[in-house]
């Protein structure tokens, strides 16, 4: 992961996790792979950052976890977004849109 991407990621990991889990509930490992794939290797989240984030969100009741059997027959812990999580995600998205819009306006200034 490049240093520039790392500093951006810290503030937005929760947002990323909620968005992706909302799209499709999944386990921790698949989540790391999906982040990497969707961001085309720009964002590379390791287990040391992801799992604490997952546990934090779970403690705040924004996501819910259940053990299930995967397609390959392995027992995995699958995370999904709760109703409170969906609301929080909507708020965070609006926040992010305002922030990125403001940033874009500033960066246009010559």
């Amino acid at each position: 992961m490049t240093p520039k991407s790392a500093s951006l990621l810290q503030g937005t990991l929760d947002l990323i996790v909620l968005q992706l889990l909302r799209a499709e509930p999944t386990n921790g490992y698949d989540l790391t792979q999906r982040i990497q794939a969707i961001s085309r290797d720009v964002l590379n989240v390791n287990a040391g950052s992801l799992y604490p984030a997952l546990y934090r969100l779970e403690a705040r009741d924004l996501i819910h976890a259940e053990w299930e059997e995967s397609k390959t027959g392995r027992r995995v812990k699958v995370y999904s977004v709760t109703a409170a999580g969906r609301k929080h995600l909507a708020d965070q998205r609006d926040e992010w849109a305002r922030f990125s819009g403001a940033l874009a306006a500033i960066l246009k200034v010559t």
Binding site: N27, G28, Y29, N46, G48, Y51, P52, R56, A59, K77
Partner: protein, 876 residues
Amino acid sequence: MRDEMRAHLEQATERFVARGMTEADARDAARREFGNVSTMQQSGREARGGQWVESALADLKYALRYFARTPLATATIVLTLALGIGFSSAVFSVLTGILTRPAPGVPDDRRLVKIRGLSDMRPYARLLSYPELQAYAALTSTFESVTAWVTTPVVVDEGIRDLGVTTTTAQFVTPNYFKTLGVRLAAGRTFSQSRFDERFPAELTAIASYGLVVDRFGGVQAALGKRVKVNGVDVTIVGVAPPRFAGPVQRGEPHMIWLPLSAWQTVEHVDDRLSNNMFAGAFDAAARLGPGVSATQATAAVRVIAARFDAERKARVSQKATSSADVVKLRGIMDVTGRYDEELMPGAIAFIVIALLVLLVCTTTVNSLLIGAAVGRRYEIGVRLTLGAPRSRIIRQLLTEVLILAFIGGALGMWTLGTLAQLVEVARDGFDVSPDWRTTGFMLVYSVVTATLAGLSPALHATRIGLSEMLKDGSAGATRRSRLQATFVVAQIAIAQPLMVILAASLASVLGSVPDVADVAHRERLLLADFNTSVSDYLKAPNKVPNVIRRVAALPGVIEVLPVGYGEGLGVAEPGSSSQSVGSDSAQPHLLASTYDIAPGYLQAVGAPIIHGRDFVASDTALGIRPVIVSQRLADSVFGATDPVGQRMHYRPWRSKAGPDERPVVMEVVGVVRMNSENNAPGYPSDYAPMFVPFRGTGGRFLIRTSTPAEPLIARVMEIARAEAPLMPVEFLKTLAQSDSKRRDDRVEISMFVAGCGALVLLLASVGLYAMVALAVGQRSREIGVRVALGARTREVVRMFFKRGLRAALLGVAIGLPIGVAGLVALRRVAGMLWVQVPIVIALLTLVVIGVASLASWLPARRAATVDPMTALRAD
């Protein structure tokens, strides 16, 4: 979490295998990609917020490992804490037991209350009349039930010639007594009558106390159904009270017997008119509050009734005292004759102060020990800090260690307390002072407080260390800490002084009060009898006392029978030369005095020599100005150097709580008597000086002087009193030696307690001193090595450290000495010490403290002599 991470690693391994790696390489790659599992687990736990449990367990394991490495230091700290916490818990337990708990055998029920009759004149408590009781019992909305009892001695005869008769305390109780109090009998049944006011016909059954059936009736089963004579009346034992129960108010008597009130008339030959007489106060009362009723509400209700009765009494008879009543929680300590709240408070406060002092000393000793230990662990702590452990974590670790020790020490102390309490209870058959949930809770809170106070400062000091300081000898920091230690030790020795003084005063008091053999023999031959003539007076029955006295005087072994008054009470004595009436803040010498009316020959009989002037003679009662014989103490205080004999004295009796009467009674001093420390006239506190006036009344109190020990005569006197005057209860019948020994026992107990405190504090201070010197030796071992290598003799090295410890001890003695001297001067009179004894006691005390402190300094200083210079220098 572990399973989840394992699943993650397996998935990652699969991916690497799919890329063409071998199984082993794929697993390694997956682990490398994953990162440190334990660190991640830790982060995960912190994110979840549950890591405190894990770290608390880690602290616990670390602490136990540390204790195992340093068993001696750990044991010292635990024992010190056990002493301090256990002792304080003991004080707390005893105080709550005595002050708040009900008497043994009575359940601790919030709804059980005592209805107290009150008066605004001494003794401030009054017994209730039966009509008044009935009025209280009629308050059915306030009280669920009311019970009452009369307490009086009776003669119990089992009909076994060899055993003889026994004088036992009986309570004639309303039939609902046991039910109201919630007391469950150990065996048998309660009375057949059950209602409060059932008084007819006479039910001649009795319930005996557990002690009585075991000691006299051959055991519980043998007692049930047994027929005995109580005051000559046949009575059947139908029940046995639970062990240690002796009534709702603590009496400390193992033998008691309860009979229904309906039997009172028959057994005590009391006329039933007594029951209707509002002036005849004979009853104590207790009650069970109605649901939802508070003691305050009940007090308001009884006050109204008490006021009504007071008004009715005053309408018929001129009466100065105003009577009232209140309702308070039933506690075992309450007695008929006193307001125990006020009387016990000074003692309770003294105990609390001592307990706090012990806590302070204990905490500073442990603090001192912990400082020493922390200095010894500076490498360990420094390394942990350097490796990144937050300071707060280490402080928490150190505090956890102290807390664990405090709990262990507290539990050990409580266990000791529990064992001691059982011994005390068994020995005294008295209050329940064993630890209960309250004491345990107190001990836990106390342990936490002690641990924090003791452990926080060393923990903060210990973690303030930097890497460079740790790598060096750290001597600068060590000096700072050892100065703190020294300050603690000085403070402890200073505190030990006043406690030791009290110890010395108590011991002096006990030793002084132990009478020599001749004195005991003398007082064994003096029997004090108190016949209650007030009941017969109310019923206008003929006075049978002269008959009783005549027959008692004729008994073999009786030399004479002397009447003794009940005392004129308390008052203020002043010299009679004052021309104006003086207030209590006057500059005139005056003294609080207690007055006793006695017959001629009384003082000689009790062995109090008249050292100046004369004894009373029969014609004194006819004199215009009342003659008085004063105690030497009163003479010294009021008249100073002037010869008191022939002088006038003003005496102002203390009639009401507002103070002494304005108008004095004029008296003339005819004699001066020297009283010994036992205060031959029992009944009033010893800080009042006794004085004697001629006996004028026809009361019922007598001193019977015998040629042989008087105790065997007690039963005979009772029989005569029963035969001649069945209407006359015998309130008191004991030899003076028996009264003395009871008083002495109480004093011995208190003295032993205080002696224990003083010794305890000195012990703790010595431990702290030992630790201080030992630490200094340990820290400066390199310096010792250098000195010895340069030619210093080991004796000189030892002396160096010994002087250090002694310096701290002497400083503590110097600070504590003025307090100790002041304390001893204040306690001198109470302890019965002479002025000349004071400096001797102070000197002895100082020597003891210095001696113990010297030993505590010398023992660790000796270790300096064992330091091998080569080892010490090499350990740089």
